[in-house]
């Protein structure tokens, strides 16, 4: 996108003073399409102001029909009516000739949009240098279960080709998976090779555990096929829904007889070069009932998604069945020792980096975009982490006070990392609860000046502190004081 120097008139003067952004002294305008914690965070930030008007209305209704939009002036008229002011930074003849591109979403600096909005508007959107928007254009490459596996398999093959089989071992963190219906025949072959094991079936595009079931016999799946694939049963559906079928992890790590998975928050601010932040806190979600392989019809036992648990008969919303990641780490170190836990959590770092690398070349990189992923990781009884899925819109609705505090801190620190206020030096390795895990290569804990570490010995410790103490407020205070003094000098 070629709009580096374009600056809206009313702020041109300030823009030139400030090399990193053009916000300068004025307030930061934001839009937000959600009504939960994120909105509280945005409203609570000093100097931030909500863009007036209804957030959820999509500004370009006419976008649904691009051919009509091609007729020019009318479209421009409607958008300008909605926006109140039209700036036209884009001269005729720049790349795209579609006139709607002229609408230039310039009246916000920060937009926490939903994926649907981005999908509809991204291609026609014009963004200024400083604007930040949630999601990358094709985020689904990682969050759709079938695409994620496809990408991972590809990178694994490539790695094996280039660096040998041994290196490919580091990809052994997702269970054998096939896409249905396209890979049905390979799946059946694999199924027959391993009789008696349990498989889990998940719709590729649905979230929060909907449509998931377990099976042991092929008959179960043929019954399902009949129901699902009846070509005429649902005229609106043209192609059968894509599912993935996955080998079920039969030896999950249990605490108090219950299965759990771990939610890890990961922030990607750039895919090229890949720059990844990892949040220290998160939570472990426990299944409500006790784990046993005898009752595979009982979905509640096997799924740990909060969304599903809520429908369980004796669900207690106050309790939420959650532990903080800190609590989990403490528990595991008490049982297995600090070293074993370090190793297990290092495995999570590996999952994060490998999965992001697998889509690094595919995701359309855009410096305006950022993405906060929610990784779901499951430990097996040997404390090996397995990747279950990646969400691009992890739930931000809080289930209780503790959960609210977690998410409030998480999002606030996310805004601190993005630093629209331009208060940081840009070289920080830790901002609040976020630790810089990767910037075109692994980040080590000691080589910066922000972390106080003694000389020598810590050299090979990666800058990853999942489940470690998160005293974010104190850290922020120190950070901003330090950054300020660096900037002055």
């Amino acid at each position: 996108m070629s709009k580096g120097t374009k600056v809206p008139g009313y702020m041109q003067g300030k823009g030139s003073r400030n090399p990193r952004g053009i916000i300068g002294d004025r307030e930061i305008r934001y839009k937000c399409s959600l009504q939960n914690t994120i909105l509280d965070v945005l409203r609570g930030r000093p100097g931030w102001q909500e863009v007036p008007g209804q957030n959820n209305i999509q500004p370009n209704v006419n976008q649904a029909n691009p051919k009509q939009a091609g007729s020019g002036s009318t479209t421009q008229g409607t958008t300008s009516g909605y926006k109140g002011s039209v700036r036209n930074p884009q001269g005729p003849g720049t790349q795209s000739a579609v006139p709607t591109r002229l609408q230039g979403d310039g009246d916000w600096d920060f937009y926490w949009c939903d994926r649907e909005w981005l999908a509809q508007n991204y291609d026609t959107m014009f963004l200024y240098e400083h604007q930040k928007i949630l999601h990358f254009r094709n985020h689904y490459e990682l969050t759709r279960k079938n695409l994620m596996v496809k990408n991972l398999k590809r990178l694994k093959k490539q790695t094996e080709r280039e660096l040998g089989k041994a290196e490919g071992q580091s990809f052994e963190f997702f269970p054998t998976t096939y896409e249905l219906p396209s890979e049905y025949h390979i799946f059946v072959e694999e199924f027959k090779k391993n009789p008696g094991i349990i498989w889990i079936m998940k719709p590729a595009a649905r979230a929060q555990g909907r449509g998931i079931f377990l099976f042991r016999r092929l008959k179960d799946i043929t019954d399902w096929k009949k129901g699902e694939y009846q070509p005429l049963s649902d005229p609106n559906r043209e192609v059968p829904e894509t599912y993935v079928v996955q080998r079920y992890i039969e030896n999950p790590y249990l605490i108090g007889g219950r299965k759990f998975d771990v939610r890890v928050y990961v922030l990607v601010v750039s895919y090229n070069p890949l720059k990844v932040w990892l949040y220290r806190s998160g939570f472990a979600r426990f299944s409500n009932t006790r784990f046993s392989l005898d009752s595979i019809e009982d979905t509640y036992v096997h799924l740990t998604n909060v969304a599903i648990q809520k429908n369980a008969p004796d669900y207690d919303p106050d309790k939420g069945c959650k532990w903080s990641t800190q609590q989990l780490r403490k528990y595991l170190s008490a049982k297995h020792g600090v070293e074993a836990v370090k190793k297990a959590f290092k495995g999570i770092d590996n999952i994060i980096i490998k999965s992001l690398q697998s889509v690094q070349k595919i995701i359309i990189n855009d410096k305006h975009c950022f993405e906060m992923y929610g990784y779901d990781v499951l430990f097996d009884s040997d404390l090996k982490p397995w990747l279950i899925e990646i969400n691009a819109s992890p739930s931000l609705t809080a289930s209780g006070k503790e959960d609210y505090d977690l998410k409030f801190g998480l999002l606030n620190d996310l805004l601190n990392v993005l630093d629209l206020e331009n208060r940081l030096t840009g070289k920080e390795k830790r901002v609040g609860g976020w630790d810089l895990l990767w910037e075109d290569g692994p980040i080590l804990a000691d080589d910066g000046n922000m972390e106080c570490a003694p000389n020598g010995t810590t050299a090979s410790i990666p800058n990853s502190f999942l489940g470690c103490h998160n005293e974010r407020k104190r850290q922020l205070r120190e950070l901003y004081t330090a950054a300020q003094s660096i900037k002055k000098s």
Partner: protein, 537 residues
């Protein structure tokens, strides 16, 4: 043991105890193995066998067994005092405990009649099977829904009707009411009147004695629980500590582990260290014994089960940290109520096991049985003695034996009336006297707005802070109980918490406000707090 501090009778008791325990036969076997060695010369028989026992580690095990006996059995004085003096030397406290027990029993009995359920009964065959199947997931529906499989049953009961027999609050009232009859003339002002609400004159330690006792916790000593925090580089303290810990563990010697734990246990070693301090090594006999207790649970149903269920549901299941362990708690608490080994601790506990009579034989001594079989009636919060330990042990059986030992060494004192310095009365008094000596303005302020500090702190003490602090902090605190073999640290911590929140407490004008200031303790770091209140003034 040439130590003249121990009377002959005491040593005899020790020998008798050892002779009946498994270690005696084990030692004999080991000695025989050594005897059979061809290298052994007849002329050096004794020396050779002794050396052999030392080399094979049996000497350590014997030392551990003796140490355990010394820790759990109070020293006998000569001449031997009557058994009731061993339980409690002060007559008026003994009587108070007895009447308190009567009250508990009465309330238990009235619940039985009200709800028309027997104290105990045999389970029908079908239920037994069902229980056996559900053993590891008892929390799912509890005793109630299982019983509902037989709807005709007249004694069908509902857990909602069961209520805890008593709560710490009720117990506090009893303790407040305690009076020493020898101080009857206290109407004359200035003669003997304590500021606090506990009016029993017992000798408690002052701060200097405590400083000496806990000198290993002083501020200039590195501690697990402070200096091994994650943001402190591990080479400053943690690495050395862990190295030393490994040495201590490999020595497998109780007193050594205890000494080491005075500065706290590293998280990953705590389970092993505690087992060594408490001399617990689970062997086949222990496993068998536990299985037997489990069978007893399956065969008979007690009213106490419902009390325990109710307690777990009210406390642990509602707790963010402990809800995961609900099933573990049942697997420990239900067999515990059947364990007659626990009865032995009544030799030195002021309490006595309640008696029940077989139907139709009321009052006939020969038909009396202890009820429940372990003699302990659970109260509201009892499950919290077990809950923090679920973080340590994966094996239910080890968890069970560690809890049992902790109970008969320490926790029983927290809910029986006695003059023992570590009994709840002594701890309450210690708390009050420390607080009024070191924070007189705070104490006076709270007292004058009608909020006696003990009224807030009492429940902490009774539960040894479990359920109030975050679980890792509870474990750090209990490290010190084990290491110093004393619960006085509980009172010290309670005082420290009051000092720490003093600024806010000085502003409160009512009991509820004070309680609100002290409601959430989960953010506290216990070790720095204890150091502050012990060593900073």
């Amino acid at each position: 043991m040439g130590d003249s501090n121990y009377s002959k009778a005491y040593i005899q008791a020790l020998i008798d105890e050892l002779k009946t325990s498994k270690i005696y036969t084990d030692l004999q076997c080991a000695a025989q193995v050594d005897l059979a060695k061809p290298t052994l010369r007849l002329s050096e028989l004794k020396k050779g066998v002794l050396n052999g026992l030392v080399n094979s580690g049996w000497d350590r095990k014997l030392r551990n067994a003796i140490y355990r006996f010394l820790q759990t059995n109070p020293k006998l004085q000569a001449p031997t005092p009557p058994p009731e003096h061993l339980k409690e030397p002060l007559v008026y406290l003994r009587k108070a405990q007895q009447s308190w027990e009567k009250r508990i029993l009465k309330s238990l009995n009235s619940m039985c009649t009200e709800l028309n359920i027997p104290l105990a009964r045999k389970r029908p065959e079908k239920d037994q099977k069902e229980w056996a199947q559900k053993w590891t997931e008892l929390g799912i529906d509890g005793p109630v829904r299982i019983e509902k499989t037989e709807p005709k049953d007249a004694s069908e009961k509902d857990l909602s009707q069961i209520r805890p027999v008593y709560a710490p609050k009720d117990f506090l009232e009893v303790i407040i009411g305690l009076q020493n009859p020898n101080y009857h003339g206290s109407d004359t002002p200035g003669f003997y009147h304590l500021w606090g609400i506990v009016q029993v004159p017992l000798k408690v330690k002052d701060i200097d004695e405590l400083r000496l006792q806990y000198s290993d916790m002083s501020i200039n000593q590195c501690q697990s629980g402070i200096d091994d925090a994650q943001d402190i580089p591990s080479e400053l303290f943690e690495q050395e500590r862990v190295k030393l810990g490994k040495k201590v563990i490999s020595a497998n010697h109780g007193p050594l582990a205890q000494e080491f734990s005075k500065k706290g246990c590293p998280t990953s070693m705590r389970a092993t260290l505690w087992c060594q301090i408490l001399a617990i090594e689970v062997d086949e006999i222990d496993i068998l014994y536990y299985e037997q207790l489990k069978t007893n649970v399956l065969q008979h149903e007690l009213l106490v089960d419902s009390l325990l269920y109710k307690d777990v549901k009210l406390t642990a299941t509602n707790d963010d940290q402990y809800f995961v362990f609900e099933d573990f708690l049942y697997q420990v608490l239900l067999p515990f109520s059947r364990d007659t080994h626990v009865l032995k601790h009544f030799d030195y506990n002021s309490a006595s096991p309640p008696k029940s009579y077989i139907r139709g034989r009321l009052g006939m001594e020969e038909f009396a049985v202890n009820y429940p079989p372990n003699g302990v009636i659970p109260f509201h919060g009892f499950a919290m003695y077990v809950a923090p330990m679920c973080f340590l042990f994966k094996e239910t059986i080890t968890l069970y034996y560690v809890f049992r030992e902790m109970y008969i060494r320490y926790f029983f004192r927290l809910h029986s009336i006695s003059s023992h310095p570590q009994g709840i009365v002594g701890l309450s008094l210690l708390f009050e006297s420390l607080l009024q000596t070191h924070e007189p303005d705070l104490f006076f302020h709270l007292k004058s707005v009608g909020c006696h500090p003990l009224k807030v702190a009492f429940k902490w003490l009774v539960r040894a802070f479990s359920g109030y602090l975050s679980s890792d902090q509870v474990l750090l605190l209990w490290d010190r109980i084990l290491a110093y073999n004393s619960m006085e640290i509980l009172a010290v911590l309670a005082v420290a918490i009051f000092s720490f929140r003093k600024t806010n407490l000085m502003k409160v004008q009512s009991y509820n406000a004070a309680e609100a200031v002290l409601a959430d303790l989960t953010t506290l770091q216990v070790i720095p707090l204890i150091q502050l209140s012990l060593f900073s003034k």
